[in-house]
Symmetry: C2
Subunit: 178 residues, 2 copies
Amino acid sequence: MALLILGHPQLGKSIANKAIIKEIQKNNSEIEIRNLGELYPDFNINAEEEQKALLRHETVILQYPLYWYNMPAILKHWFDVVFEHQFAYGSKGDKLKGKKLLTSVTVGSLEKEYKPFGKHNFRTTEFFKNIEQTAYFAQMTFLDPMFFHGTSAVDGFTEDEIKERAKRYANLLLSSVV
Amino acid sequence: MALLILGHPQLGKSIANKAIIKEIQKNNSEIEIRNLGELYPDFNINAEEEQKALLRHETVILQYPLYWYNMPAILKHWFDVVFEHQFAYGSKGDKLKGKKLLTSVTVGSLEKEYKPFGKHNFRTTEFFKNIEQTAYFAQMTFLDPMFFHGTSAVDGFTEDEIKERAKRYANLLLSSVV
């Protein structure tokens, strides 16, 4: 039904991403989840296997934590290796054409910190133009990114609160791709 | 005098970045160059060594090719691993405070393709907010990025033309950090 590329390098150490994945697996077994950190701990991504997975689905979800206002390196490597010439672009590179790309990102700080005068100066959406234009170049349909802000204990949330909100977020995510 | 972090994963296959590095080495031996692709072919970045290198300099140049409107994975991994809590941020994380960060990027397409109605829709500068905000969060001074557009043979440049323009670009880069 949809492919979920999980770009957390160490899901075992995650609270929010782990809770989101758990809830998705509980409520929708038709979503194929590929955990890049687990599949490729040494960054040795199998381009052919990843391309086959992309071909099986019409909707691709990127699920990851925001690291330095950008995707974790393992997910960037996935793009660098899998979105090859004559697959994602080029004269015969139309294999992703028309597929939907939904970016779903956990963000430590609260949304109010992501704007001028906030701790992070820019709005969260401003950091996603690279993925948006990548989607266009691969002839994909770019859906508005979804953000789950406030996943850090620093902002006063308990682990249980984060898990509870992660569950609700996971169901919102599911409802937007079903 | 300055630290240059080279984020090309395979310099041997590069035309523009290789020519830029060659010209810098010829004209300024005081710039310390760290070739991440050569030092860490398996992505196993040594955070301590990289942090020590950062501490030796007041100006940091990031030199890399634009891959999918973003930095190559090896350079993203460098940020993820080296910009640690209590080094780059946090209550005691002021080790990069006041250092200058200059982003220098080779871009395959011509600049005219980087704007609305162009092949890449957005202006090149729009893809660099993640590095800009990373610099602010680490209390660094973010310098306006420098771009070397038109490094792809697809746009009709010969290898010699690209090398020649790369030399001129390298000297422009040097003059901006001296």
